[in-house]
Symmetry: C2
Subunit: 145 residues, 2 copies
């Protein structure tokens, strides 16, 4: 069951400049940064609010570290902007299976590692009215972030 | 001060079909529907979670009612997908003025009517790393929705 907007993923050319924009313009703060080699991105998570399911909503700013990464190719085609949206769930495996059974293409056979030790998968944007959609189960609260 | 992700605005060709996708696939429920003649859209708000500032986060599904509306022109150019993101604030007038003073173009001289009696303005996407960004102050809790 999807219980929150977990994050909005925004692709950018230069992470430092984009972080500077969001922190200076709006007063948001960087909660976490990491490099995800598998996804081919360098990223910053800005926590915007907490949510009624015990989680939180973030902006995820993404800079590709390889031109041939999914985000790199998307950015070359589209320019900077919203790359994907992500819903939070306690059970990414179960929800991905249930959604897949409804005919929506799930992009990974098994969830992969996302931000802050989360487990994530993606749904094909052509099956979601043009929206690349991620499902996320956060790491346990005492896990790394 | 921006205190929540208020909504993600998603442009679609057919509101009824898109609502059906989001309710059937994810179990989300329609919280509110309206036609905003000024914005040139028919819309549905799906409430996803409540937020720590006393507000909530929604998906806003938008179908243009005129081809020459902002959403209609965007949809003709880009196809279905994420049209804008919106941050919630208790003071859209003050925040818009403060952000405008930092050199970000604010698209309205005065906030206009948004969903559910809210007051909204937009920031130019070219000044926001490609993201059309809305600021929203919700109507008082006892107002119409």
């Amino acid at each position: 069951m999807l219980t929150r907007i977990d994050h909005i993923g925004i692709a950018c050319h230069n992470l430092d400049e984009t972080v500077d924009f969001y922190t200076t313009t709006y007063g948001f703060e960087v909660f976490h940064t990491e490099i995800n080699e598998e996804q081919g991105v360098r990223e910053a998570m800005l926590k915007i609010n907490e949510t009624s399911d015990g989680g939180a909503s973030y902006l995820q700013l993404l800079e590709p570290i390889r031109e041939d990464s999914a985000v790199g190719k998307w950015l070359a085609k589209n320019g900077e902007g919203v790359h994907h949206i992500a819903f939070g769930t306690a059970d990414v495996d179960g929800d991905a299976a249930a959604i897949g059974a409804k005919g929506v293409r799930v992009l990974y056979d098994e969830p992969r590692r996302g931000s802050m030790g989360s487990r994530i998968t993606f749904l094909h944007p052509k099956d979601c009215h043009g929206v690349l959609t991620e499902l996320v189960t956060s790491a346990a609260p005492d896990a790394e972030h």
